[in-house]
């Protein structure tokens, strides 16, 4: 810890589409750095002491809920767990996540996108008997390794970083994106989901699905949870190509 606290310079994208006549612009704010300061702490300080209209989204502020992905100095990441100390020159540029509907400033509507994605991939266990399960009786057994493998793929927090980093998504507005593929891979792996490969093909066997991926793998590079996007997309593509 140095004796003299730095003054950080934030360049923040500002635009409120609901405010008549408002225009997109970058605004500079200065914040005195505190030890252990995160972008979450800095943005709240700006809102409380400098500009109460500044919009952004945080919920858990612990890197768990996926609310706060934004573009930080050109790279999508979770703002809540990004320490300001990581930026040697003290200059931090913040932009809203591209690829999503803008609500205002740094706030984007990832929720709407993710609900549509979940409906599209039918993000639930497909088993006609799942609702008739006798929950008084012992649960169905599962191999411990299989349970662990499913959890590996279920760690996605729907932050949207993969979508914003995807060049294919930029060209194909309806591209399912890595978050959708990861969800499909998770259910394809799960023995409780009785869907056949043919049924999965119906969902992703086209150019807006897994065959559209240009394999630039921004998803792999920017996933804050380090999910194995590359492996899973390759796996799904091979599985679908065999149909």
């Amino acid at each position: 810890m140095s004796d003299q606290a730095r003054v950080l310079k934030f360049q923040i994208f500002r635009y409120n589409p609901l405010k008549k006549g408002d225009k997109p612009r970058m605004v500079t704010y200065e914040v005195t750095e505190a030890p252990g300061m995160t972008i979450f702490i800095a943005l709240n300080e700006i809102r409380e002491t400098q500009d109460p209209s500044l919009q952004f989204d945080f919920v858990c502020r612990a890197g768990i809920c996926g609310s706060c992905a934004m573009v930080i100095n050109g790279q999508p990441d979770l703002a809540c767990r990004t320490l300001t100390a990581n930026f040697a020159d003290g200059e931090i540029t913040l932009l809203p996540l591209p690829g999503f509907e803008l609500i205002g400033d740094l706030s984007v509507n990832t929720g709407k996108f993710m609900r549509v994605m979940s409906e599209r991939v039918e993000s639930w266990i497909h088993d006609l008997h799942a609702d008739d399960v006798n929950y008084d009786a012992l649960e169905e057994r599962m191999d411990p390794d299989v349970a662990d493998e499913i959890y590996e793929l279920e760690r996605c927090v729907e932050c949207g970083a993969c979508v914003s980093a995807c060049a294919t998504k930029r060209m194909r507005p309806d591209f399912l994106s890595a978050v959708g593929f990861m969800r499909l891979a998770r259910f394809a792996l799960d023995p409780r989901d009785k869907r056949t490969d043919d049924e999965f093909y119906e969902i992703m066997g086209n150019d807006d699905g897994v065959f559209g991926c240009m394999t630039l793998l921004g998803c792999e590079d920017y996933c804050p949870k380090d999910l194995p996007h590359q492996t899973q997309i390759a796996y799904l593509r091979r599985k679908m190509a065999l149909i």
Partner: protein, 656 residues
Amino acid sequence: MKVIYTDSLVIGGGLAGLRVAIASMQRGYDTIVLSLIPAKRSHSAAAQGGMQASLGACIKGDGDDEDVHFGDTVKGSDWGCDQDVARMFVNTAPKAIRQLAAWGVPWSRVRGGDREVIINGEKVTITEKHEAHGLITARDFGGTKKWRTCFTSDGTGHTMLYAMDNKAIQLGIPVHERKEALALIHEDGVCYGAIVRDLITGELAAYVAKATTIATGGYGRLYSVTTNAVISEGIGTAIALETGVATLGNMEAVQFHPTAIVPVGILTTEGCRGDGGLLLDKDGYRFMPDYEPEKKELASRDVVSRRMTEHMRKGKGVPSPYGDHLWLDITLLGRKHIEKNLREVKEICEYFLGIDPVKEYIPVRPTQHYSMGGVRTNATGESPTLKGLFSAGEAACWDMHGFNRLGGNSVAETVVAGMIVGEFVADYCAANPLKISTATIAHFIKKEEKKITDLLVRDFGENPFALKAQMQQIMMDKVGIFRNGPDLEKAVEELTVLHQRARHIALRNRISSSNPELVEAIRVPKMIKLAQCVAYGAMLRTESRGAHAREDFPERNDRDWLRRTLAAWPDDSTDLPDISYEDLDVMKMEMPPGSRGYGVDNIILHPDSEKRMAEIEEIRKANSAAGRFELQQLLNPTPIPEKFKGKNERIGRGYK
């Protein structure tokens, strides 16, 4: 006037809210969920360590059942809980977890054969039964006799919430995101839905419903440092209070978790200690066995938090620029275990502290974590005073936690209460046609419109951010882990002043659509009212019970205080809530008040305790041939919905 009609309105899209919504939808009632945020981002997702359910599949859970879970829960609550509710809960928890398994949660499973674990700082080999291979396993948690906490790594809440929300999506339940309920619509003691503000457009709408369920979580953000998400501000609880009709229960019962990281207050799961982690002081000395020789680091949360605070007061804390802290040592668990079962903890340490917990100690301190208090309900989840208003999960004082919640009983409550209360919500929808005048709806909308207009036109006044910060500091300094009369009196006084000042908030950003300052201005007066309920209730409760520890009244006083605090705010022009009390009936308890087994017992007995004990003994003798189920029915008949009455199967034991 925009009016949306539905049968079942659920405010809050976390585990409890979604489960209630699923129940009413599956029973055929039109259902809408309101959420401040996308449902999958709810604070339920942050539950790391696990869910308690007495499956007894892992070897260290052998012999576990509903009765053992019941005993732990009642003791954990320091006899403050409603034993009917605790009974319903423990009997239903195994069903809830098995249903979630069918809905997709990848619960960690038993692996038959030998495995190495850390118990009491030592490496021990335990042998899992081969016949249990592939069943749901469990880890150790504080205050429990058996290893009962089922988990998926340390992302339990995340996987539960994802399965639950996916199920809701499958059923086509609409979740109206970025909507905030500002007030409940009610008339003649019946609730008919809520006035709701769209957080993007600012538009107000009336959501009119037969049954309304508040499932908005806890009120941790009344404190400046808390493990809770930023949305855990208790607003759902506050709008119930503001009806003047509904009551809040035990608001002074606030839990402090032993191990949040310093300074930001992010949680490291109890699973760290459950899996064998230790608490160390500035000398690297393991101090908990000196205070609690039996349970050590795995005493109940309230006990461990107090012991840590005591130890720091003796000068044994590690000094830091943010005040003293202690160390959580999980290095002894080894890299493989940490990277598999404590990976969220590892990530949090890396990102927020810049340390590797495989090699380094984690700086921790007790921090606000859970709200036992909330909207008072009866065992069916309905407010006893406002018909048609239900509540479930942390937002409710259903009251299975009393004055201290056991780790792992929180997410368990959300899904179990969701199941049980959801059935009663559906019953209510079936029995009650909607009868409400549009004039009443208009009255409530206009009232909220006026409040917002007043805020937008006022030129000078109080800053809502500043008021909130002052409230949070008062709660931190004067209504914390250890409490005393003079501090609490001062807190009540200071909060009352804030309450008055909060009537004159003015904004710098005066627009009615998406506006974080307006959101704050709407919430802060509500939060201050809740803070007043907490502080005032704590001031009046002149005993120590569970997480409510009074230095000037260290004894648990069953004689005078075996009662639940009820707060109501019938007249909005007054500066303090009305406080009244509801006695707990010892003569109906399945488990009369006794010792929790921590430290030296310091209890003023209730005159009925011995009487009830003798009565139970007689019932047992007179029914010596009765099995545990019959006996439980005799001692504590509970209103469990018919579909959840079945016995639970366990490996090696069947349905016994």
